[in-house]
């Protein structure tokens, strides 16, 4: 038997193991009342997956439990702080977010469509961009630091208004070139380990990699509260960490590359409920 044939046999043998070690089949219900779509059919453009799963299904029972009740969810402390910040006057224009936005509930549904293309500038924008635009242009205050507690608290607070709504980002029209760019990044084998996002999250989800149970790398729960770091983690910070771990030079948080990647990764999860703020190990 030559090596190619052996590889084929190995691949076939590996498959049942993948199913056995895969996601659990618990149901994700928040506060005993909000049924979440955490498993669903993959969208047609997510070519190599049949079913998509929230990262929640790959975590331990203990970690899962923290996300199903808002009283136990440690992310909620940061969300509460952000709710205060929403009301706090800052900047030369002497305004708070609440001066112009009639309650944070008015952002219901927004997260499910993010990232999106800004009609005026033609640029792809993520939630952090929308918030900082209001900070700098409308409040005349300093931009918030991308992965800082204030920014990620606001991103989580606004995202929470869409919790339960299925992700549905647009990938056509003006978004198409950004989506293509993100897709190309997703399949690029970066770094000295030459690993792409797909190598881990598409070909090996359900498998253990050292102590980690690999998920499909979805972002419908971001910002997530990471127990290890005891704070909210931004989407771009997670991307940066994953690329760094391939012994690669990463991209910067808030870079156009990561905006495009965010659109592509978000689109792979179209159909999963927004879970913000999720809890991870």
């Amino acid at each position: 038997m030559n090596n190619k044939a052996l590889a084929a046999v190995t691949a076939v043998l590996a498959f049942p193991a993948l199913v056995a070690a895969g996601p659990d089949d618990d149901n994700l219900v928040i506060n005993d009342e909000l049924d979440m779509i955490s498993v669903t059919e993959a969208p047609a453009h997510t070519e190599n997956l049949d079913t998509i799963y929230s990262g929640w299904h790959f975590r331990t029972d203990e970690t899962q439990a923290l996300q199903i009740d808002d009283f136990d969810n440690p992310a909620m402390i940061f969300v509460d702080q952000a709710a205060d910040l929403f009301e706090t006057v800052d900047g030369a224009a002497e305004k708070s977010c609440a001066s112009c936005h009639d309650g944070v509930e008015s952002f219901e549904g927004l997260q499910a469509s993010m990232p999106k293309v800004d009609a005026e500038s033609g640029k792809l924008v993520v939630m952090e961009d929308l918030i900082n635009k209001c900070r700098t242009d409308r409040m005349e205050a300093d931009a918030l630091k991308w992965s800082g507690a204030d920014m990620q608290g606001l991103v989580a607070l606004i995202g929470l208004q869409s919790r339960g709504i299925p992700m549905n980002v647009a990938i056509d029209g003006a978004a198409a070139p950004f989506w293509e760019q993100g897709k190309e990044m997703y399949y690029t084998r970066y770094g000295q380990l030459e690993l792409s996002c797909a190598n881990c999250h598409e070909e090996n989800w359900g498998n253990m990699i050292r102590a980690d149970h690999l998920s499909q790398g979805m972002i419908n729960g971001f910002p997530t509260y990471r127990l290890k770091q005891a704070k909210l983690i931004s989407r771009h910070n997670r991307f940066r960490g994953c690329i760094r771990d391939t012994r690669a030079e990463t991209f910067a948080e808030g870079s156009d590359e990561f905006r495009a990647l965010e659109l592509y990764v978000a689109s792979r999860g179209n159909g999963l409920s927004v879970e913000t703020p999720a809890v991870r190990q």
């Binding site: 084998r189 770094g191 000295q192 030459e194 771990d245 391939t246 012994r247």
Partner: protein, 158 residues
Amino acid sequence: MKLRLITLVCAMTGGAAFAAETGPKDVQFDDYGAIEQSLTGVAGDAANGALIVGEKSKGNCVACHELTALADIPFHGEVGPMLDGAGDRWSEAELRGLVANAKMTFEGTVMPAFYKDDGYIRPGDAYTGKAPSAPLTSILTAQEIEDVVAFLATLKEQ
């Protein structure tokens, strides 16, 4: 200044200690991805090879492979096949090829190449996330590859 000093030191030790070594760019793979010739001419040290296989900052092979011989190390991955019996399945030359660059044996494999120092997309300075400040070196040295091969050769089922 500091950088130049390091380069100088590397050049000196490189010249002296590794004179008989085959560099990453000079390795000869056969049609099946095997490497017949030892990379150093010095017999591998299986005990050190075992350490490299388990060590996160070295081979970190257990991140993807399970193997009974290193059962005392917690958390073995399951991305690649179980390595028990690898010494039965593969000759020494094949194992050397697999560890140096498994892509020559299994086209497109997820398994990283451990003896290669160019041809990467955005390589970093180890796990810092930053661009490298010095020329890249292979993840494992020639002797470390030989050590790992010697260890793998001991993995026999019977």
